[in-house]
Every structure is written in C-alpha cells, then in structure tokens.
Symmetry: C2
C-alpha cells in the first residue's frame, strides 16, 4: 500500500477510535467487543473512497466523517456475522481470533447487530456533527441502507451461502450476482454517499457508480485469487478455504490467468470512470491500481 | 385484546404486507423468510403506539407509516436473533417454528440483519413516502437507532444473556437494566418518534417518554409472569423456560403476587402520563389497561 493510502487509512482509524463508544460504556463487554471487531487493521478502503469521492466532485471531505465511520462499522459487522460457525466458520480475521472465537457466538451476533445499528445512528448525527444538510442525510442513509440490505450486501451473502451448500447452481450468473452485491454494493454506496455530500451532479454520480462497480469486481476477483495463491501471514486468515469448500470463485470458473486478466480489465475501467470527474483524485487512482496488485 | 386494538393491529399488518419486499424479489429465500419472520401475528403494539402518540399531540397518524413499519421490522429482527441456538435457543414463536428452525441458522442470521437494515431504509424513505420533514426524519432515525443499539435494546439483550450465564449478578439493578433496555427502549422510541412526527413539544415528548418507560416495565413484568402462569397455547411459545434456565425475572425476585402489584402500579403511571397530553388517546389508554391483563 502506498504512503498516501496508508496515511488515509490511519486517519480513518483515528476517526473510528473516537467515534465508537469507549469500552467503559456499559454494558462494557459489548463495547469492548465492538471495538475489537472494528479497530486495529484493515485498509479502510470504503471510508477512504467516500472521502476521495467527495473531493473529486469539489466537496469538503471533512463532511464525510459520518459516512466513513458508518460504512466501516457496516463492513466490520458483515465480517463478524460472515465468520460465525453457521456461516463461513472462520477462526482468524486480520491475524486475530474472530469475534465469536474470542467472545462467544452470542456476543458476536450482538456485536454485529450493534455495529449495524450504531452505523445508522452515526449517519443520523451527520447534520449536527458534520454540518451535512438534512435532505442529503436522508439520501445518504437510504443509499447505504439499500446497499447493505437484502437486495444488496445481505442478498449477496445469502446467494453465496446457498451456492456453497449446493442450493443454487454454481454458474457465472450467480457468481456475478454474489460479487456485485456482497462486495460491490457497499463500495458503490461509499462512493455515491461521498459524492452526494460533495454535491455531485447526476453525471458525476454515474461515474462514481461505475468506478464502484468495476472496483468491487476487481477487488473480489483478486480476493478469490489470493485465496489460491496468497499466504496466510500476509492475509491474516486461512487460505485455500474456498477450494476446500468447493466455493464458486473466478479462478475455479476461469483459471488463474484469465481471472487475473479480468481483474486487470476491471481496474482499467475504474481509471476510465475517474477521467470523467472534475477533480483528479490521486487517492482513487492509487486505489484502482492497488486493487489488483495487493497481496492482502 | 379490544376490538379497536385488533383493528389497529390489522392496519399495521396490511402496512407491513405492502412495505416488505415481495417473496418473488431475488434472492427469494431471504425475502420469503423476512416475510415469515414479520407477518402473521403479534399485537403490533409498537407500531400502534407510534401512530397513537402522533395523534395524541395533534399530528396526522398517516405520516407515521414509515416508523410503524420500521419499528415492527426491528422488533421482529430482535426476536429472530434472540431465538437463535446460541442465544435463547427457542423452537416456537407465535405458534410457528422459529426462523432458524424453518430456514436454518445462517438464513436466520441474515434475515435479522436484513430486517434491521430495511427498517432504516424505510425510515429514510419517510420524506418521499409519508411527507415527513427531512429534519424530523434525521431526528427519528437517530432516536430509533440509539434505542435499538448497544446502549439500548442490544445492550439489554447482552446483559440478559450474561445474567443467564452467571456472568453478571442476578440482582434487581441488572433486572431493571435488562427490562429498561431490552423492552422499554423500543417502546419509548416508538412513542417519541410518533410524537416527533406529530410536532410534540418538549413537555409532551417527556410525557410520552414516561408512558413508554412505565409501559415497558409493566409489559416485561407481565411477560415474566406469563412464563410462570401462562399456557403454551395462548402464548404460542414454550412456557417455564425462564425458571428452567434460572433466568432473572420479577416473579423469581419478588414472588408472583408482588410482581403483579408492580405491573399494576406501572400501568397506573402510564395513565397519569397520558393525562398530560393535549388529545385524549383511547388507544394508548386501552394499551395501558391491557398490558397487565393480557394472557399472551
């Protein structure tokens, strides 16, 4: 990761540190576990992208704090629930025991619920905390809720689980659905929310949407590839799990080489979308290049 | 339940029927299961109270549709997650198999997540669908999110689980915390949200808050009592589970008679709060009387 992306990720980390309720807030176990689930790692891509999208249309990125915190909480909740024994049953996440391994399954379910809820509370505080207009606040909440819900991220996770259990067919259509919804929807919502706060035009929102869609695709294909060729140390989680579970992936459908090519093409489409925005965004540019070259 | 409360509950049922995505929306299993979790039963007290609170301060209850649907989705999500094997491990809810018994644990977790998310999407649609002001919309979302989160409903469920496992002491302080948060917070948020949409003054909001707090208390004490003296047929769920699990309850702490007396006193406090509102609310009046006399 480049120095600029690392610095941006650290800013988001500091924001989350400040925004999440302190561990001492009762009941302290849930707040301690919420902080454990969210803090201490991650590239914070969604939050960084939201701020960069706002800047790329001429807005003030300091107004995006609520979206940045909320979207990272939503991402973290989705990981906590995805890791549960009845879902992907993962023991490690970012090199640490998953929340249910550390705090038990009941607390992990509640932590996910609490993070999702707190995300919307934080979004509703945007007018007061970040001077976002009330109308924009409602539009952003709708954007993010629709992206995270049953026709967005949760829908993608549902089809993923069904495919893994052989309850829907493991074909390209379903693979595309899973990627667009499970990963793409939240990236897209982060970018569009940043754009909305920055006062983007319809055309600019459309370019940000396209960036998000292709970025999500490139990101997920790379994720699939890393499960095959990555190292446990770099990824901070077990590798080879997709194959072990017979999970639908781009490498399993197309082979490694073609999957790499497809990720690369999607990243190129991202750069094309960026060219349509009024302010050059170095951050979004680097993110688009980084996505296919990352090792974690 | 009185005829008027039954009619109001049916109106809410029709609203939910219309508001939830149809089962045919892909992925259909999640939408089918969301409808299974929400529709077909329940007294819809939270939704009915929101509309009645709006009327009691002179507002138009038709503007409360978003709150009514959202709060019932949040209530339903909390039941789906509370029923999970790693939480209360219940097989029956409203006389039907619980969501995880019917659809499996993974889908049940996702259904809860989806309902919680959809609730906030629906709230964010209030300006468009129900003509609620943008500023009021943000205030209502904040109210409901804070009531449902880690310092509200989820916090109450956390302490409930900890108490059941002997991880916090089973004393009156914790019992009060659990009731005020697990049940009271959402009742209070329903009433206050209805009040906010109806344009309530600070003093009126305060009276609605008091109604909600005492109502929540009366409701939960009665719930505890019904687990001892109720019938499985009337309740649509197993009885005696609290005792079996050594769960902290009002009857276990105070005995049945004194618990009944405490529920009655709380209901009286509700009636006192109602007297401070500008428009007499027959619905809120009946709800306060009904809560201690119900058999389910």
């Amino acid at each position: 990761m480049s120095a600029i992306l690392r610095a941006k990720a650290q800013e988001v980390e500091a924001l989350l540190e400040k925004t999440l309720p302190p561990s001492s807030t009762p009941p302290s176990i849930i707040h301690e576990a919420m902080r454990y689930a969210v803090l201490g790692g991650g590239k914070r891509l969604r939050a960084v992208m939201a701020a960069a999208a706002c800047e790329s249309v001429g807005g003030d990125p300091r107004q995006v704090g609520g979206v940045a915190a909320a979207i990272e909480m939503i991402h973290a909740y989705s990981l906590v629930h995805d890791d549960l024994p009845s879902m992907d049953d993962d023991d490690l996440r970012r090199g640490k025991p998953t929340v249910h391994r550390k705090y038990g399954e009941a607390v992990a379910i509640l932590v996910g619920d609490a993070l999702l809820t707190e995300a919307f509370a934080e979004l509703a505080r945007m007018p007061e905390k970040y001077g976002v207009a009330f109308e924009t606040t409602a539009a952003v909440i709708r954007e993010i809720a629709e992206a995270a819900g049953s026709q967005g991220m949760v829908g993608g996770q549902t089809v993923d689980i069904l495919a893994e259990r052989g309850m829907v067919s493991a074909d390209l259509n379903n693979l595309r659905y899973i990627h667009a919804h499970k990963t793409g929807a939240l990236f897209k919502a982060a970018l569009r929310s940043g754009g909305l706060i920055g006062g983007a035009s319809e055309k600019q929102l459309e370019a940000l949407t396209r960036f998000g869609e292709y970025f999500g695709l490139a990101f997920q294909i790379t994720d699939d590839i890393l499960d095959v060729v990555g190292s446990k140390d770099a990824l901070g989680k077990e590798v080879g799990k997709d194959l072990e579970k017979g999970k639908l992936t781009y490498p399993s459908l197309f082979g490694l080489e073609q999957a790499r090519e497809m990720a690369k093409e999607s990243a190129d489409k991202c750069l094309q979308a960026l060219a349509e925005l009024p302010y050059e965004s170095r951050v979004l540019h680097e993110i688009a290049l980084m996505v296919v070259d990352r090792d974690h």
